[in-house]
């Protein structure tokens, strides 16, 4: 019986097929799904912020792209995953409101996507699909069996990347 594991905001989980992992309502956060193509272990992390060095309270690794992604890879390796066989799919990083309070050049969503790409590049894990940006929330489900990453948004057809 396949189980669906839920990942909250600033949270992560790993599983083996036929189990699946889901995270609901990604706004400017990014959901990074990583999978070993051969032994099919897969994991999902829901990061909120780009950089753990920018803030004081940074004990939760899953909160940041720069610490959450390496931690997810470590957990996949502990389950027998091999880094050179891993591939990633990413979704989220939207800009929910036309303005953000801090007058930074890029929105948090854009910065999260950028930091995600940087962290994955540092680990030499290729991004094989992405659905990022725009101005709407996304609910995602990751199927490690096939590598499918299903994306749902309000008033839009379901998309699989």
């Amino acid at each position: 019986m396949a189980e669906t594991f839920k990942v909250g905001i600033a949270d992560m989980n790993v599983c083996r097929p036929p189990d699946t992992i889901t995270t609901i309502g990604l706004g400017s956060c990014v959901g990074i799904a990583i999978r070993d193509k051969q032994n099919k272990v897969g994991g999902l992390v829901h990061v909120m912020l780009p950089d753990s060095h920018e803030v004081v309270s940074n004990s939760n690794k899953a909160k940041f792209a720069d610490t959450g992604i390496p931690e997810l890879v470590r957990q996949l390796e502990a389950m027998g995953g091999i880094r050179s066989r891993m591939v990633a799919k990413i979704a989220g990083g939207a800009k929910m409101f036309a303005f953000q309070s801090k007058a930074e050049l890029a929105s948090v969503g854009e910065r999260n996507v950028e930091a995600t790409k940087k962290a994955l590049a540092a680990l030499r894990i290729p991004i094989i699909a992405e659905d990022t940006g725009a101005n709407y929330g996304r609910t995602v489900t990751f199927f490690p069996e096939t590598g499918d990453y299903e994306i749902k948004a309000v008033g839009k057809p379901v998309k699989v990347i």
Binding site: I9, I24, M48, S57, A94, F97, S101, N135, T139, V154
Partner: protein
């Protein structure tokens, strides 16, 4: 760099923030009843300090469709304020303001979105006014922006701003009642330095 974190708030500070929540919500109710031209009752607001990961579930699940009205504040306090309502409550309030029920319960027309922004403007304005009066600080709100989407996605916006300083968030739940449910939630997000300013101004630090 501010030393204070919301995680360290003692019960005394929390009581003060709670009281501001009460008064603010009271003023917002008065403003709302004036705008809607009728009596609007308010239950005692519930003020909670909660983990950001639990916020979505409070509003009926992270996939619940909500309307979020978001404003940036500047002046002596920098930060943002958000007023969140379930889609149904937002529709009920818009219907009251426009004097007729919505033709489409699922989607929001341009006119309805504009009405919602105005409601948000008045409610958050009343709330910020009481905060400014109590603290004697100057607060300038921006024009509001509205977004209708999954609760999880909308709430991640203030959660992220809070997340940069702490893992918890201050949520003020206000039940505006009439014959229809028009409840909503205020989320006030001052930056860390503004928190200190508010508490100093109120004489608790």
């Amino acid at each position: 760099m501010a030393e204070l974190s919301i995680d360290d708030l003692s019960s005394q500070y929390f009581d003060v923030l709670k009281e501001i929540g009460n008064i603010g919500a009271g003023n917002a109710t008065t403003a709302l009843s004036t705008m809607l031209g009728g009596k609007v009752d308010m239950k005692v607001p519930k003020v909670r300090l909660m983990e950001f990961k639990d916020v979505g579930t409070t509003m009926g699940g992270e996939e619940q469709i909500v309307a979020g009205i978001y404003l940036v504040v500047n002046g002596d306090i920098n930060g943002s304020i958000m007023f969140v309502q379930r889609k149904e409550s937002a529709k009920a309030m818009i219907g009251k303001l426009m004097g007729m029920p919505s033709e489409d319960p699922e989607n929001f027309s341009e006119m309805e979105l504009s009405a919602l922004k105005e409601i948000g403007n008045i409610i958050t304005g009343a709330y910020l006014n009481s905060l400014a009066t109590l603290t004697n600080l100057t607060i300038y709100p921006s024009i509001p922006d509205v977004c209708i989407d999954m609760a999880g996605a909308i709430l991640s916006v203030p959660a992220i701003e809070f997340g940069a300083v702490a893992d918890k968030l201050l949520l003020i739940e206000t039940d505006f009642t009439d014959d229809e449910d028009m409840s909503g939630y205020f989320i006030l997000v001052p930056d860390a330095e503004s928190y200190e300013k508010i508490l100093h101004a109120l004489g608790v630090m």
